[in-house]
């Protein structure tokens, strides 16, 4: 049976905590272990941070819709935004050594999302919204 929950939050950084709590609680309800919960929570935080920063350029009044679903041992968190399009394939691989030299932080979000989930799916086909889904399987 499929279980699904949804929240909508404004694109303000102080809502990152709300998003993390929503994800952690949902994952816990479905039997994920603490380590997996931490990994998924961090990955979703990175996705939401990217939306706030890049899609919405720190405008705190925009909406992010987060859907959590669980079916067949697979937990999926989908974040939908209505901001600027973003092509994840164009994001460069992080080169931390070089970033230090350039005195730059950042660029680590997508790498972390890939490392911390079993699957990352972008749906950029709609003209109205962008969607990213982070999938973690119960092992």
């Amino acid at each position: 049976m499929k279980d699904e929950k949804k929240i909508t939050v404004k694109s303000a950084t102080d809502n990152l905590k709300t998003i993390r709590e929503f994800v952690a609680e949902f994952a816990k309800e479905h039997g994920f272990r603490d380590k997996q919960i931490s990994e998924l929570t961090l990955a979703v935080d990175e996705a939401a941070t990217n939306i706030i920063k890049h899609a919405y350029k720190f405008n705190p009044e925009k909406e992010i819709i987060i859907t959590a679903s669980f079916e067949n041992n697979e937990l999926k968190i989908t974040l939908r935004d209505f901001g600027e399009k973003f092509d994840p394939d164009k994001a460069p691989l992080p080169d931390i050594k070089n970033s230090l030299k350039l005195k730059k932080g950042g660029g680590l979000g997508i790498y972390l999302m890939r490392k911390l989930t079993d699957e990352l799916v972008y749906n950029l086909s709609s003209p109205e919204f962008n969607e990213i889904s982070l999938i973690k399987r119960l092992k």
Partner: protein
């Protein structure tokens, strides 16, 4: 859930920072202003004691990336100590242990600056 704050002390010319709570994109500006303040005050030797840090995202890690070179150019560094396992795992995933020094105890981290 706890608020984020940063306590600090100074010992033997080394500033020890104690970030406490959750360091994410929301609280990162607080960490940045501490580093800005240290740099304008000419303090480049920084040990970050992570024992009370409950959470870190890449936004938080970005602060340490953005400021470490300035510290090193001025005879200092950012060194970490008392890192909880859960926090260390995030640093490790991104390869930080190759580029930064991590110590078990605060004393070791401080002594390394003056040794």
């Amino acid at each position: 859930m706890s608020e984020f704050k940063i306590e600090r002390k100074e010992e033997n010319g080394v500033v020890v920072l104690y970030p406490q709570g959750m360091l994410d994109a929301h609280t990162t500006p607080q960490m940045e202003s501490v580093f800005e303040e240290l740099i304008s005050g000419g303090k480049y030797k920084v040990a970050v004691n992570l024992k009370n840090l409950e959470y870190i995202s890449s936004a938080g890690l970005g602060v340490f990336m953005a400021y470490v070179e300035t510290m090193r150019e001025n005879g200092g560094d950012i060194k970490f100590c008392e890192t909880p396992k859960k926090i260390y795992e995030v640093f490790d995933l991104l390869g930080f242990p190759v580029l930064y020094e991590f110590y078990e105890t605060e004393e070791e981290a401080i002594n390394k600056f003056n040794g």
